[in-house]
Symmetry: C2
Subunit: 350 residues, 2 copies
Amino acid sequence: MAGNNSEAVMMRNKQVILKNYINGSPKESDLYVKTDSISLKVEQGTSAVIIKNLYLSCDLYSMSRMKDHNDREGYSSDLPGSAVKGFGVGKVVESGHAELKKEDLVWGLTGWEEYSLITNPESLIKILHTDLPLSYYTGILGISGMTAWAGFYQVCSPKKGEYVFISSAFGAVGQVVGQFAKLFGCYVVGSAGSDEKVELLKNKFGFDDAFNYKEEQDLNAALKRYFPQGIDIYFENVGGKMLDAVLLNMRLRGRIAVCGMVSQYNLDHPDGVHNLMNILDKRIRMEGFVVIDYMSQYSEFLDVAVPSIREGKIDYVEDIVEGLENAAAALVELSSGKSVGKVVIVVARD
Amino acid sequence: MAGNNSEAVMMRNKQVILKNYINGSPKESDLYVKTDSISLKVEQGTSAVIIKNLYLSCDLYSMSRMKDHNDREGYSSDLPGSAVKGFGVGKVVESGHAELKKEDLVWGLTGWEEYSLITNPESLIKILHTDLPLSYYTGILGISGMTAWAGFYQVCSPKKGEYVFISSAFGAVGQVVGQFAKLFGCYVVGSAGSDEKVELLKNKFGFDDAFNYKEEQDLNAALKRYFPQGIDIYFENVGGKMLDAVLLNMRLRGRIAVCGMVSQYNLDHPDGVHNLMNILDKRIRMEGFVVIDYMSQYSEFLDVAVPSIREGKIDYVEDIVEGLENAAAALVELSSGKSVGKVVIVVARD
């Protein structure tokens, strides 16, 4: 389908634009909606595709891209004045790529806008299981589910019966890690920032236990209460004081998968972590990872995730936001930690 | 040879006794020499052996055992009033063990005394290559060499051409790691605490470069100078501020093998390490290890180490101390960082 010579169709393209690089937490005024137009025609001789965006993931990744990381290896920044970028689900409307054709459903890195020109279409993943809600590919069947799978199965090297602690356990990744760990046969405790989230972790997601870290004066004492035998696996989303307390409670040959350190992102001076001697004493392996390194195993992940979701063994909550106009407010709410469930922005339903 | 009925021979047994658990650095007065006697007879029906100690390793491990670790998992403490324990080379003088016979040369955990009763003789390793100096089995062919091998080859997963930094590089382990890394084809820089050690690292042990960390105001700047491209592998012996500076200079997918954190051992409040976000950003694997987990691979280590030493490809310096009477002073000197070369206490030469 490389190129085509038909007349270009110009379409309205509503976009969520980044005003300036953000510092710290985003404000609604950091973004604005602009209506532009886009030619639904792919330049001849290129392999680019144009997708119509259906569902967008509102997450920390997009928030991170709004910061100026231009001197930071391994990080990407959006360009002020352009549409925010993030993961989403779309439908191919025009394709110069041999393996993607019109009407194909795909997910991958796209823009917060109605239509996106994707110049590296090899990064898009075709959606084959369409019996599950398409929006799931912004989360549990997309980056956050895959991150949970790679972090737990690949980085943590779990064994049945091990003690697993997940911080920020109600986050899009944490809640899936916990459910994978339960299905695998581990004992799972999570921490979260509100009593409502703690209740859902225990009663909806099947965690063995959970606690509200904001109500704990002494995180070390809290962990000792929930893990009298110690922790084999720590799925790290938080960093700082939580990591310091966890280190004191790790068991011999424990593993720490570092997926995030959200408590540290907006600090000028990151917290000091004092208990690293435990890495030596307990022969701990601590490993940072990003999901992109594991994408070649995406179908292995689906083999676990799809049947578990179909059979209701893994639960999933979405927080649906209608329209690009509401994206900025959703992002601010996410950043405040108030969102319950995966925040999905609906651009169009088909 | 299980048991024997001959008359027990009583032998003088000079011992170096721990007076009380030490706090911080050892003083000569923490130890004293006592002359006892020992029956050179193994109780019938047991597999115990008695060895005549020849060479003892004076090292941080013995120093660590002099502290009270009784509430610390994975750590052993000596008993005040008993002989200090540590690694050494000995000759079997009596054996109840099927695979050890009189005159066999062995190395393993023994006591700072003339004769030791070893009740777990399966922990002793028979010395097969006797063309190299026996004292080497207290160090380069014993625990420190094996630690270097396991840490570098097994934990660091090195690749040819990678950039390797070793702190406390002149230590018994560090200097062997550096030489293994050079033989393997890496670029190797070490830090040490005196100009004399720096010179020896460069000119005797063949490090590509080395620096005196005490003369650096800014460790981050120093590492940037020695590793403009960054560090792939950090062999960690020091911890604290050095680790914090190294984290800033690690490359993508770097590895940190945590062998020791000597700057932290005697602190009531360990230093805070602030740059752990780099573990996430650079997908670093940081792993604590102890050599004991790798002992099943000892013969693999010898396959690398023995020919390299025979052919002069690996250099080794010993600091020989004559007699148990001088052991306490040697330990204090070691603790002060003044020793140059592996400190070996000679108890007897055969």
